[in-house]
Symmetry: C2
Subunit: 463 residues, 2 copies
């Protein structure tokens, strides 16, 4: 019967004493004089299974000995229990057929490759243990996100990717156009004639789905987005990509506390979920990527997250007697070194920082009564820093208009957005979770380029 490596490991009993058929790839082939071993991987499971072949059992023994790393093969044989060996099962082959050869220059050999090299062969790197684990984690964590929100009645909303809104206020944007770049049409005022462009106006790639998600929250109460977002910033760091996926829940009749509760529940749900579904991968990350990862993540489940205001955070930093490169200051942003101190040294736990200075936050965040801070919250986590950023939204029409004026946000373009405050508006809140940041947090992988299938960064758009 045709089966998979996952089937063999997870439901072993089903296959005992039966002829089994497997399709997959050779991770390694160690040929001896009268027998040989193939590390056989079929993509369905983190581990390979060992396939043993013997001269006396295979008609084409000599050809099988020559099968190279990376080749695709068909294996027929019998499942053998090996309770005393490193792995509890192996396959004794009666038939092995080469389906697709792999030449000597195959880049993924059974040895250590640098992550930089593997980025250059991103179309093949998921055939290594590390990237196989990372991209399965990515898939399972994505589903965990959906499961978390769907089970609570949140509506998944596909907010637009191409947007005519210039002022989403979250970063620099890519222009989307069908105008011929070698002869861009100009209008009478010698400006680009966007009327001739595909949409009849200037359009960009979205930096956030939040504004549209707010419209949906005011009809469905609880909604979430999960889609790609874009930043045209020319920043080459290990934590920024030009294209990344974001999850943005938005909730009507929810204040900042409710917002934090949902975020905390979500993070805990996802951690539990990936340990339950991917035990092999999580052990691998702990062993080979970030020693101590399992403890760090499981500890998160045992206690409530800390909640402090931005002012309290700065006070802690000032009193810490630590030599920071950037002095912590009231009214100023919190740097990576500050995040590290708070989450790793001071609290050793995820920390919500609330009530941020209005000057460093977006126009749509709700003004607090002090008129100096807004009802924003960032979630900082040990090892990864900022994971989530959110806020209660300004639901008061006049206050919102005032902030837009102060911050020079084009009001006409966003009339539909401000109108949400005129037509049955209500207290509402939401947050954004960068999905790649989450995967880095869950795996210990430190470079965002290594958790995206085909990363896009400045001057890099391969595959």
């Amino acid at each position: 019967m045709e089966t998979t490596v996952k089937g063999l490991f997870r439901t072993t009993e089903k296959y005992i004493g039966k002829e089994i058929t497997l399709f997959g790839w050779v991770r390694n082939n160690r040929a001896q004089k009268e027998f040989g071993f193939i590390n056989f991987h079929d993509g369905t499971f983190f581990d390979s299974v060992q396939v043993v072949y013997e001269d006396s059992k295979l008609k084409n023994f000599k050809d099988v000995q020559k099968i190279r790393v990376g080749s695709s093969i068909l294996v027929k044989g019998e499942l053998i229990l090996t309770p005393d060996a490193k792995q509890p099962i192996e396959v004794k082959a009666t038939y092995i057929e080469l389906l697709g050869d792999s030449p000597e220059d195959y880049p993924i050999q059974p040895k250590r490759h640098s992550r930089e090299f593997l980025r250059e062969v991103a179309h093949l790197r998921m055939r290594t243990n590390l990237f196989h684990a990372v991209f399965r984690l990515r898939s399972v964590a994505a589903f965990a996100v959906h499961e978390f929100f769907q089970s609570q009645g949140f509506i998944y909303t596909h907010t637009p990717i191409i947007t005519g809104n210039d002022g989403e206020g979250a970063g620099q944007m890519f222009n989307v156009t069908t105008l011929p770049l070698d002869k861009v049409p100009m209008n009478e005022d010698q400006q680009v004639d966007y009327k001739k462009d595909f949409f009849g106006k200037r359009t960009n790639l979205t930096v956030t789905g939040q504004l549209e998600a707010e419209a949906f929250a005011l009809a469905f109460k609880n909604v979430y987005t999960f889609g790609p977002t874009f930043r045209a910033e020319n920043s080459n760091t290990t934590r920024h990509a030009s294209e990344f996926w974001m999850i943005e829940p938005e909730m009507a009749f929810a204040d900042l506390n409710k917002n934090m509760d949902v975020a905390e529940d979500m993070v805990k749900f996802i951690i539990k979920y990936v340990f339950e579904k991917l035990p092999e991968e999580m052990v691998f990350f702990d062993k080979f990527v970030e020693p101590g990862l399992t403890d760090r993540l499981l500890k998160v489940l045992t206690q409530p997250f800390v909640k402090i205001t931005h002012k309290e955070a700065i006070d802690i930093l000032i009193k810490s007697n630590t030599k920071f490169e950037n002095l912590p200051k009231h009214g100023q942003d919190i740097n990576t070194e500050h995040e590290k101190y708070l989450t790793e040294k001071h609290f050793d736990c995820p920390v919500f920082i609330t009530d941020w200075p209005k000057g460093i936050k977006a126009f749509y965040m709700r003004m607090n009564d002090d008129n100096e801070t807004v009802a924003a919250m960032d979630l900082l986590v040990p090892g990864s820093g900022e994971l989530i950023g959110g806020s209660q939204r300004e639901e008061r029409y006049d206050m919102l208009m005032k902030r837009m004026e102060e911050m020079d946000i084009p009001k006409e373009d966003l009339k539909w957005y401000t109108d949400l405050r005129r037509y049955g508006g209500c207290v509402h809140a939401g947050y954004g979770l960068g999905f790649e940041r989450l995967i880095m947090y869950l795996s210990g992988v430190e470079n965002i380029r290594d958790v995206i299938p085909f990363p896009r960064t400045p001057k890099n758009c391969e595959f």
Copy 2:
């Protein structure tokens, strides 16, 4: 206790005899002299619940009478069973508070609005029954897709949105750029100097994630994408949008038959799923959007889909004695009228058409032995025409290179793709499902603009 309209309808017993608190919106407010009725909707459920208020019970009775359609309110009261009424429950209010007003000019009044008008207020239209049902269906169907593939071990893969591949071969592309359009830099040859662009090369919005998904299938066996794709075609039809979501499974060691089996299982799974999760919405679609929809969809579950070759399909059309506007011809495409005849008149059932003429299909489809047709399959469904398009992929390196030459596909750009055939390549197959087409099929809604939250079409990029 705080609850939701969904809670009241689905777990009624829990709330009997308790004081309940609800947050939501007024769909209608019919004030009488000494009492009144509010159609109360909170976004969690398709139906509204009726809230009854009486002069003698409310301190602010007169203010409540003035609450307008669209306003957000807080209701406290008691759940009353009304087994003889149209709805089995209602809420008797003890307290009603206006949270967010809605002025007289609120566009969504309790009357029939044209779909054209509602497109102009797309930020509010999900507050109507139709769009509330459509966008909840969209969310639930999206989750059904994930559940179907995840439960079978498929890996969800985020293929890139911005691509440097010019030749994906599925349609016209949008250019993505940060070059200043009013002074595009030129190189010495008087051509656009893309080296100065953000990615150092010309980049576009993807038309398909298939090519990258193939790379993942050759590492994980079974994978799927679910993300936005783009077409810069200037076509204004009810079935085309410039931005839409696609699901693209890709399977290693799978031929065209396996491909069709998975597609059929998926369609049946989704239909079952939405009837189970959304009984109220599906009744609504049947009653107000497409009479007979329920029968049409449930019938699909009762029988295997038909499988015929393109040649057989043309033969049936020719023999049908039907006056088609476009004469059916061997070697030619199948038009909408032909699709309708096959699925609605001849078979009255979903139909796979296989083995298409090579001249009208993409370069990556596997050549059949006749050297005239390729191992492609389209799934046509009654009422909606083409729902799925897929193929077995050309896994033979030489054949693939030959087709790319014949069809003028740039080989250098796609070296990584053709290399997948050199490194352990194997028989593999996949398909694409347009998610909006699926929602149209499931709801009976006829215009693609009415199943996308904020549709993008030529000259239209609002919100």
